[in-house]
């Protein structure tokens, strides 16, 4: 064991400078949410809406200037729309910081609100420490794989004062993944009930936000919709570790929310 420690020390610091300092966040090359350019849409073209497996894209036949409704809370980042679009109106992008406090911030809007202060009122109680209870409500294990990555030396979540805790009694935030299967509904509710107030809920991954590919059917619900009140929504399939960190820091008012009207602020 001392040998391990020595060699570990000799290897030096492996942690990414981001988000505490400027520098690499380890996400370069990551393909995120497709970007929408309404002015490029061909008339009557519904190629993207037709291929979208989760109905994140729907047609608005009445509106010529903005023919599509896009709900990024339903997007599973499969990129089928970017391949199907003949006019490059849906383009691949590196946009991953899609954590939002309000569900409607994930729905595409022509002129997203930017006037309101981007930093909300700081929750001073949690400036330095946050305890999270995670519940898997039927995920594919992709979100868990990324949540587990948060404690690897590269992201090192502990340095930000954020911890996963075993007992819901000690938790401030309930972090839920998965579309909420019928069998996980009661255990999920029981975990929430066991948390002391004040308590908050974060939906991680498109399944938890809106149901994802497994939505409906004989076994699944529609994510946390109608199950628990949600304070932070983070779509993605799965969201990458940096997106999860960004959303947690956003919840703590230590980073600004970047998505407004389905678009990232530059």
């Amino acid at each position: 064991m001392p040998l391990w420690t020595l060699i570990g020390l000799l290897e030096g610091k492996q942690t990414a400078p981001w988000p505490l300092h400027d520098g690499a966040d380890g996400q370069s090359g990551f393909i995120g949410m497709p970007r929408y350019h309404p002015e490029r849409c061909g008339e009557g073209c519904d190629a993207c809406a037709e291929v979208c497996p989760t109905h994140a894209i729907t047609m608005r036949p009445s509106d010529k200037d903005r023919p599509l409704d896009i709900d990024y809370g339903r997007c599973i980042v499969c990129q089928l729309c970017t391949e199907a679009c003949p006019t490059q109106a849906m383009m691949p992008s590196s946009d991953w910081a899609f954590g939002a406090r309000r569900r409607e911030d994930l729905i595409w809007k022509e002129q997203p609100q930017t006037s309101t202060s981007i930093r909300g009122k700081p929750v001073s109680t949690f400036r330095r420490s946050l305890h999270i209870r995670h519940v898997d409500a039927g995920s594919c294990n992709g979100c868990e794989s990324e949540l587990q990555a948060l404690n690897n030396p590269f992201y090192n979540l502990h340095r930000l004062g954020i911890f996963f805790t075993a007992s819901p009694r000690f938790a401030d935030l309930l972090l839920v993944t998965g579309p909420v299967t019928y069998a996980m509904l009661n255990p999920l509710r029981a975990t929430y009930e066991a948390m002391a107030e004040p308590r908050w809920v974060m939906a991680v991954g498109t399944c938890a936000v809106s149901g994802g590919v497994a939505e409906g059917g004989y076994s699944c619900g529609h994510g946390l919709e109608g199950v628990l009140p949600v304070d932070v929504y983070l779509p993605g399939c799965p969201p990458n570790p940096a997106a999860i960190i960004h959303s947690l820091l956003m919840f703590l008012n230590r980073m600004p929310q970047r998505v407004r009207g389905g678009q990232l602020a530059e």
């Binding site: 064991m1 040998l3 391990w4 060699i7 570990g8 492996q14 380890g26 996400q27 090359g29 990551f30 393909i31 291929v51 497996p53 599973i76 980042v77 499969c78 990129q79 089928l80 391949e83 691949p92 995670h134 519940v135 898997d136 039927g138 995920s139 594919c140 294990n141 992709g142 979100c143 868990e144 794989s145 949540l147 587990q148 990555a149 404690n151 690897n152 030396p153 590269f154 996963f164 075993a166 579309p179 299967t181 019928y182 069998a183 996980m184 509904l185 255990p187 999920l188 029981a190 994802g212 590919v213 497994a214 409906g216 059917g217 004989y218 076994s219 699944c220 399939c237 799965p238 990458n240």
Partner: protein, 496 residues
């Protein structure tokens, strides 16, 4: 990739045919059900015939029930219970006819795969507790510990029930399928290419293996010849998936033996591998690349991936050597969770678990697919069947996997990566892949419109969860977490 014609059997022939398969050295893989017509149910058996590339398919009409084969092939017990739950097929003389996939209290109005099951009616959250058999009288000192489904740390949901005295575990029962999402049913009615997105999301850390087995099943149904460059790149993707999964395995194994620096190092190497995945495909899980007939777009691994893999191989061999020289780590692994070869065979162990108990089986070599037949696939095997053997098999696989990738890179053909495939109505096909956790099957059936009528997924974790309790009964609490980590199981893949 050819599917041999299905052999039609009468129910009364089944036991006899299954016994003879065993005698001649074959192996039963799975059973599933489907509806060739709305009111007809058929069961299909997939079997390995000795020294044959193609799998055998037996078909039997399920009306009036079929005999359970669990007495001859114990691994069939779970498969049959799943078919009972989801299709309402009766397996006569089943040794344990309780529900498996659907929890007690779910009370479906009809079996969910029944064609008359009301569309999008969700099962009820369970009202009843599971009935657990009593292991001793009330006066005995046997304690009951139900752990889960919400467990400590970031883990998948499942409930583990221990009957124990002090440190000694008398009996262990994993209660799974809390995460059952009904994924197989979600495929129905989709077109073949659209459903690849779904296959990628059955088990997140097995995205490539699932999409690959699914695509190969459809390609078999369509008699589609995939271009050589796509076949080589598919091998590359499948091995990249094995690499990050196995690296994660060692990080987690060190976590359970409390080798903290070893845990950090394993997880850091996993992160490096995932970042290579992003550089190659834009996705940390290698998603959005595979499709029917090849790949959705070409990849450019030339000039950089080989060097990165070489570096990872060097880092891993130093790391592995240090683990193999750490007494405190080895003390917890050697003799822990021993799985005998005959139990592994009878109960259907697969992948590294199987190979650690001395069973030399690997689909990449024995039933070669993609470009594996043109490459040299070394298979790591150990005999002792304990947690250490399971770790050593994975160590061997990391080295072999990187060597395989280097060979594929050096011989990567040029040319297109996709060919158009069209599926005939009523076609069917079987696809398979050796996922990082073992044997994965997809069976697909198309309807008269050329849409998917039925997709059956046999995941490796379904097989290995069936086996795992045999190494826990009569062991002790201190070793449990280590033993579980040494199996490297996922729950999403098992529950589907």
């Amino acid at each position: 990739m050819t599917v041999s014609q299905a052999t039609f059997l009468r129910p009364q022939q089944l036991k006899d045919v299954a016994s003879r398969l065993r005698e001649r050295g074959g192996r039963m893989q799975m059973v599933y059900a489907w509806h060739p017509e709305p009111d007809r149910t058929e069961v299909r058996y997939v079997v390995t015939e000795p020294n044959q590339h193609a799998f055998g398919i037996w078909s039997c009409d399920a009306l009036g029930g079929v005999p359970s084969l669990a007495g001859i092939w114990p691994l069939m017990a779970w498969h049959e219970r799943e078919v009972m739950d989801l299709f309402g097929v009766q397996f006569l003389d089943h040794p344990q006819p309780q529900p498996l996939v659907l929890h007690e209290g779910a009370n479906p109005v009809r079996p969910p795969f029944d064609s008359a099951y009301p569309h999008d009616v969700t099962l009820q959250a369970e009202a009843a507790k599971q009935s657990i058999p009593e292991i001793a009288g009330a006066e005995a000192d046997v304690q009951l510990l139900p752990f889960g489904p919400v467990r400590a740390d970031v883990l998948e949901s499942a409930e583990f029930i221990f009957f124990y005295i002090g440190e000694a575990i008398l009996h262990y029962h994993p209660r799974l399928f809390f995460k059952h999402r009904g994924m197989e049913k979600r495929f129905e009615g989709l077109s073949a290419d659209r459903a690849v997105i779904l296959a990628e999301r059955v088990s997140g850390v097995g995205s490539v293996a699932h999409a690959l087995a699914y695509c190969q099943a459809v390609e078999a149904a369509a008699n589609c010849i995939v271009p050589p460059r796509a076949l080589f790149l598919r091998v590359l993707l499948a091995e990249m998936e094995r690499l990050y999964n196995h690296l994660h395995y060692f990080g987690h194994l060190c976590h359970t033996t409390t080798l903290k620096v070893g845990e950090a190092e394993g997880k850091l190497l996993e992160e490096h591998a995932k970042q290579l995945n992003v550089r190659l495909t834009g996705s940390r899980f290698l998603r959005s690349i595979l499709t029917i007939g090849g790949l959705r777009r070409d990849l450019s691994p030339d000039g950089w991936l080989g060097a990165e893999l070489q570096r990872l191989r060097r880092d891993f061999s130093v790391y592995a050597e240090r683990m193999e020289n750490t007494d405190s780590h080895l003390d917890r692994l050697i003799t822990t969770g021993k799985l005998d070869a005959h139990v592994a065979f009878d109960q259907g162990a697969t992948g590294p678990v199987d190979r650690a108990s001395g069973l030399d089986r690997d689909l990449r070599r024995d039933h070669a697919y993609a470009a594996y037949g043109q490459l040299s696939t070394a298979v790591a095997v150990r005999e002792s069947g304990d947690a250490h053997a399971r770790a050593q098999v994975r160590m061997g696989e990391i080295g072999a996997s990187i060597a395989l990738m280097q060979e594929a890179l050096s011989r990567l053909p040029n040319g297109s990566v996709r060919v158009e495939c069209s599926v005939m109505p009523k076609a069917e096909g079987l696809g398979w892949a050796e996922s990082p956790r073992g044997t994965l099957f997809y069976a697909v059936h198309f309807d008269s419109q050329g849409k998917l009528a039925r997709v059956k997924i046999k995941s490796p974790s379904f097989s290995n969860w069936r086996v795992f309790p045999y190494t826990v009964h009569d062991s002790n609490m201190m070793d449990y977490a280590i033993n579980e980590a040494s199996f490297g199981l996922t729950i999403a893949g098992c529950d589907r």
